[in-house]
Subunit: 256 residues, 4 copies
């Protein structure tokens, strides 16, 4: 029962290393989350507990993979940005895609009880992942802008949709009323009919979550029992605009 | 904040559909499991609870992805076989690789307390995954034979190694004694020095785990309260030789 | 001016080796041949000189690349079949695609004066090439059947089209008359209106060209001046059905 | 004999579009040119007729493919640079690789009699091609610098080697004498032993050929018979340094 006669099958493995010198964006996306949300009675349009759990799982991923430069999340998706010069696993696509999906999902399950203590996990959450390469800083920023613009558009729609449904409309009626309408109409609808100022809603809902590594002070016990304040880099969650230049000027190290 | 000006970034996504007409093997592998095993004090050379947890996670994957024809697992790795004609997610590599890694890891974490009730999960288990295509039945069988031969070789070595270590040798001494020795020497060592007949060890350790879908009887309650026996296909774990023809003759449907 | 500081750019080269164990089909296709044919006043619907030149260029490719098992050509395209176990250039796609395109085009230009002695070559003929993998014999045969069925369909249409045009119709009228018609209609049209029995047309036009390596006798001069008959394998052009089993039974070595 | 039952084989064709936003470098390389040079008695170390033929073939390629921004050639190789935003054939790798190889080879054969009028073409010249992507301007420039530094190193070596061989040494002796020596040694050898000032050799040999599109005046006949001077862009061959910044400052449009 020697291995050697069968080892030729390794030749069928293909090299999937990604082009050097490009930003690697790894986007995770929940599979079948509409059903998953219903099963666990997530609040509509946004369940803050579920969003915080997503953020916490993403932070766990960033602690595991120190190469990740920043992350952006909304709803049931998260994008992780690896730098141009990243050599993790030789930039092999399957390695990165599977490990990040594995780490995110495991963290999601492990951290669930902290974030939804009263809701037992009743199904296996699944996330797919894909890797996309961006050769220029402009393309990377436009990718992130695309996701944040999407957050805004979806959230405005969903806020209107669920306001209408909670006010007694059917899903179909709500959908029909909103179809093809512009942002102004939706803002006005929320304000005049539901007394909601859209821009006063939490930034988390309107802008999604950005995770950066920032210096955080923490207290460390020294050998002789005294406590000492130290600093370390920790992945921190922000809810701010990443489309305009301001953010990138403030965090110039991200594209450096 | 329209999406449209940024949507061009979708053009950077590449098509990673895998060649039709080939068997797809998706192999998962634990990341850093040496450390993970030590952290949770897994028994050496084989922890039957941990192996059963691997099998249970693999069964969960097979329940989620009905396309999977069979699976083979050993130690901290598992291979899943998708049939030639499989069209799941258009055969997109990243989708399959990430979802199977996600499902396996989530199941591993969820099922942990059932299999290791007295050992709290103290770290995030991670599994990477890769997809390999095999154009012929012969190549697929040789792949599975390769993994099972590997199971045997590793297990014989580990059984000797840990017997020596438990008898008082250091890791280095045990390794040195075994280096370059043949199977006969190791079998004889186990028998003469430790009274162990290697072939009498559990097949799970020597042959790994095969998972097939088999007809299983189950009792179903009918509407009027009577119970009725029904059959359904369930992923069942076997520990048997898959290198010789016998297995493939008995389960001719696997390659059909 | 040392090379070493720039050599890192080699890391950007990607590995494009094709999956082992599959048939490799390399299909060449003339670029802009409608215009090229007009420029050189090729006869319509088939110019036997131009078709023979295609065949001769394909034979030159088969003499250069001994791995090629067989070839099939029609009109301005040619497909070359490399066997499953082929290791030429490590199965690197770009190498095979470019070299076959290069060899075919160079041969086409070099052999032109032999086949069209009265027509000076007035433009550069261009051929693109692509590689496609077929994991099973069935898929390979179906590929070749697809090309031969295409030959038949195009030739029947073109024969009708040019008969109508030569009889005085405009291109548009001819096209309109034929659009959506079945084979029976076209056969009847040729017979009743132009006295042409389609099945009596040269097989080269109706079935395309197959190139196989066959034993050919040739006379060799020995050292003492006598001539001696020897045999060698030469790429030979046939015009026969390759869709039905008969051809493959007669040439069982092709798929062996 | 319908096509439809066989058309499924098209599904085996894979999408090989190259990542947008990157420079595409297509490098052609002569196959077996050592033998090809001997067969045609090319002058050593450089045959100016053969180098001019390479340049002319590359110019023909640039006339055919207007997307090509610039080209660099030396010895039996040529690199063609397509811009980041190039959409030719949807950036499909096989299309570009095969068509450029086809066009270059055809042009080489067609233009041969003009450049080597007394030497009949006695074998089929073959060129392979590969595509490499460069995400940044820096990487593209470093690629071109790598090729030009290679030109210099090879030419200095070859100039010494053939001087030694022509002076009576065997190939092996010449090779042994040069092995591991630095540029200074080789310059000194040429000067002291052969009276050759390396830097006075033609720039074509020392720096290779760069092809750019430049405005060229040409005379056009107007409808009424008068001649009128016009300008058009023509691929022009230069022999100059492309490693230092000067060239790129002078031709800022190349990277714009």
């Amino acid at each position: 029962m020697a291995c050697s006669q069968f080892e030729y099958v390794k030749q069928y493995e293909t090299d999937d290393r990604m082009l050097p010198g490009c930003w690697i964006v790894l986007r995770l996306d929940g599979k079948g989350f509409t059903k998953f949300c219903e099963l666990h009675c997530f609040e509509k349009p946004n369940d803050v507990r579920a969003l915080c759990l997503m953020d916490a799982a993403a932070q766990a991923v960033m602690r595991e993979f120190q190469d990740i430069r920043l992350a952006f999340g909304e709803s049931d998706e998260y994008s992780f940005v690896f730098p141009r010069e990243c050599q993790l696993y030789g930039r092999r696509c399957s390695k990165l895609v599977s490990l990040v999906a594995s780490c995110f999902t495991a963290s999601y399950v492990r951290l669930w009880p902290q974030h939804l203590p009263d809701t037992p996990l009743a199904a296996t959450p699944l996330f797919d992942a894909r890797a996309v390469l961006y050769p220029s800083d402009r393309a990377l920023r436009d990718y992130l802008s695309w996701r944040q613009a999407d957050t805004h558009i979806n959230n405005l729609y969903n806020t209107c949709f669920w306001a209408l449904v909670k006010s007694g409309k059917t899903n179909t009626e709500a959908h029909t009323q909103l179809q093809g309408t512009l942002a102004d109409y939706k803002n006005e609808l929320l304000f005049s009919q539901f007394g909601l100022n859209y821009n006063a809603l939490p930034e988390r809902f309107r802008k999604g979550s950005v995770i950066l590594r920032q210096r955080v002070k923490h207290v460390k016990q020294t050998a002789d029992g005294r406590s000492k304040e130290k600093e370390r880099l920790e992945p921190c969650v922000l809810h701010c605009d990443i489309i305009r230049d301001h953010f990138w000027q403030q965090h110039a190290e991200l594209l450096a």
